[in-house]
């Protein structure tokens, strides 16, 4: 039994310390907000200039000028603040964001991250990914263990264009939880029924 997306989000939510400032990337990481209880002690940061992001608005209460970095309509929690992009990235780059949870295309065993561009693919731009990767105090990646075409995503060295060097501390996939450990990945936890041998067969780098 591998973990579903919701299981992965639930496991990622366990990485959040009470009272921390957390930035959630677009895609899988966004699910983390959906599974957290409404009264969770966390301050969600969105790099377009928002700290204290709440759930999606009720239908009819959408505000076009209150969005997250994924351009989705959102709400404010009591205690939220809005600010300009320079302040937002000072918060990010200056180490005032405790945790960033991001998706990835490749993570290397030395913690290198590649998550913005596929060689030969369309140029979609980088957004705030490089700033978050360089600046967040802790970076956790949530992603499928392998690409849809079966290509390895946990690798000895990234072959895709890099986002940042040596920044990933933990990876949560459909197979389990892994930490980059220099010359390989350390197994922190496995999804129920998943064996180390199975993970080894689907990992492009050494497992420890």
């Amino acid at each position: 039994m591998t973990w579903s997306k919701t299981d992965m989000a639930r496991r990622a939510a366990q990485e959040i310390e009470p009272g921390s400032v957390v930035n959630l990337g677009i895609g899988l990481p966004t699910l983390v907000a959906d599974i957290m209880p409404a009264d969770a002690d966390v301050w969600l940061q969105s790099e377009n200039g928002l700290l204290g992001m709440g759930p999606f608005p009720f239908e009819g209460e959408e505000d076009p000028q209150l969005i997250n970095a994924g351009k989705q309509t959102v709400t404010l929690v009591p205690g939220a603040s809005t600010f300009d992009s320079a302040v937002s990235f000072a918060m990010i780059r200056g180490g005032h964001v405790d945790l960033a949870i991001m998706g990835a295309m490749q993570v290397a065993s030395n913690g290198d991250l590649a998550n913005w561009s596929v060689p030969g693919g369309r140029t979609t731009g980088v957004g705030g990914a490089m700033d978050l990767a360089a600046g967040a105090r802790r970076l956790v990646v949530v992603m499928r263990h392998q690409a849809k075409n079966g290509a390895d995503k946990l690798v000895p060295r990234c072959t895709y264009p890099l986002t940042a060097l040596g920044v990933v501390r933990r990876i949560i996939t459909d197979l389990g939880v892994f930490d980059p450990a220099g010359d390989g990945f350390a197994v922190v936890a496995l999804a129920p029924g998943v064996t180390v041998d199975e993970v080894r067969a689907r990992t492009g780098a050494e497992l420890r």
């Binding site: 928002l50 999606f56 009720f58 351009k71 992009s85 320079a86």
Partner: protein, 238 residues
């Protein structure tokens, strides 16, 4: 003696001295908080060969994507292309030169320009394509890359409230790049939903002081497009 007001009567008047080849900063995140009337106004001037400095340069055919459709853009400096098919097409055709910059570096380059700083060292992008050809230097055992200030001829920004001096207040996440852009451009033109008299914004409530603003146009109505409408059902309320 009465103080001179920066209010101009129309968008056309605010943009009357725009020239071909101008470098124009435009605030907004995706289609949210765009200076919609000024974006339309630039189209009406008939000027071209423009350099757009904007985070997304439009999206889904709206906002600055209209400039791309009209063929008046030579160059774009942005952080994210994403759903901007007009920009994708222009890149594929080679008709527009696109420079991608990490978002935090993008805004800090403008903040630096507006603050009289020529360049700065940032940890963002070290060891990536973004640092290629750029000077790096170690501070405290960590490597940083040198990024230069980013100036412009004109900034077009959207504010919620303005007074005749150009003191501004912004609303929610519409603030985004507006203060940095206003400081980095030679001429900043503001499109404000509300215009109040001097003193109408309390000194403590001014987000951006009027020294950074040259012209103010009153635009009470906006389309305010929603790019991704996300909601939750009322039944889920617990």
């Amino acid at each position: 003696m009465a103080r001179k007001s920066k209010e101009v009567a129309s968008v056309a008047e605010a943009l009357s001295d725009l020239v071909d080849g101008a470098h124009i900063m435009v605030s907004g995140f995706g289609l949210s908080g765009n200076p919609e009337a000024l974006i339309e106004g630039v189209l009406a001037t008939g000027k071209g060969s423009l350099t757009i400095i904007s985070n997304n340069a439009g999206s889904i055919g709206e906002g600055l994507a209209k400039w791309l459709q009209a063929g008046i853009v030579a160059r774009v400096i942005c952080s994210y292309v994403g759903n901007n098919q007009d920009l994708q097409r222009a890149m594929d055709d080679g008709t527009v030169e696109v420079q991608i910059t990490p978002q935090g570096t993008f805004v800090e380059r403008m903040r630096a320009a507006g603050a009289g700083i020529a360049a700065f060292y940032t940890p963002t992008g070290v060891g990536t394509l973004m640092a290629e050809g750029k000077e790096t230097r170690e501070f405290g055992g960590r490597t940083f890359v040198l990024e230069r200030a980013l100036h412009a001829d004109v900034a077009l920004v959207r504010a919620h409230r303005a007074d005749p001096f150009g003191n501004l207040r912004f609303y929610r996440t519409s603030q985004n790049f507006a203060p940095a852009m206003a400081s980095a451009a030679r001429v900043t033109i503001v499109e404000a939903e509300e215009l109040v008299p001097l003193g109408g914004i309390d000194a403590d409530d001014v987000h951006l002081p009027g020294a950074f603003v040259q012209r103010v146009v009153h635009v009470p109505e906006h389309r305010d497009l929603i790019e991704i409408r996300t909601t939750r059902s009322r039944e889920a309320r617990s």
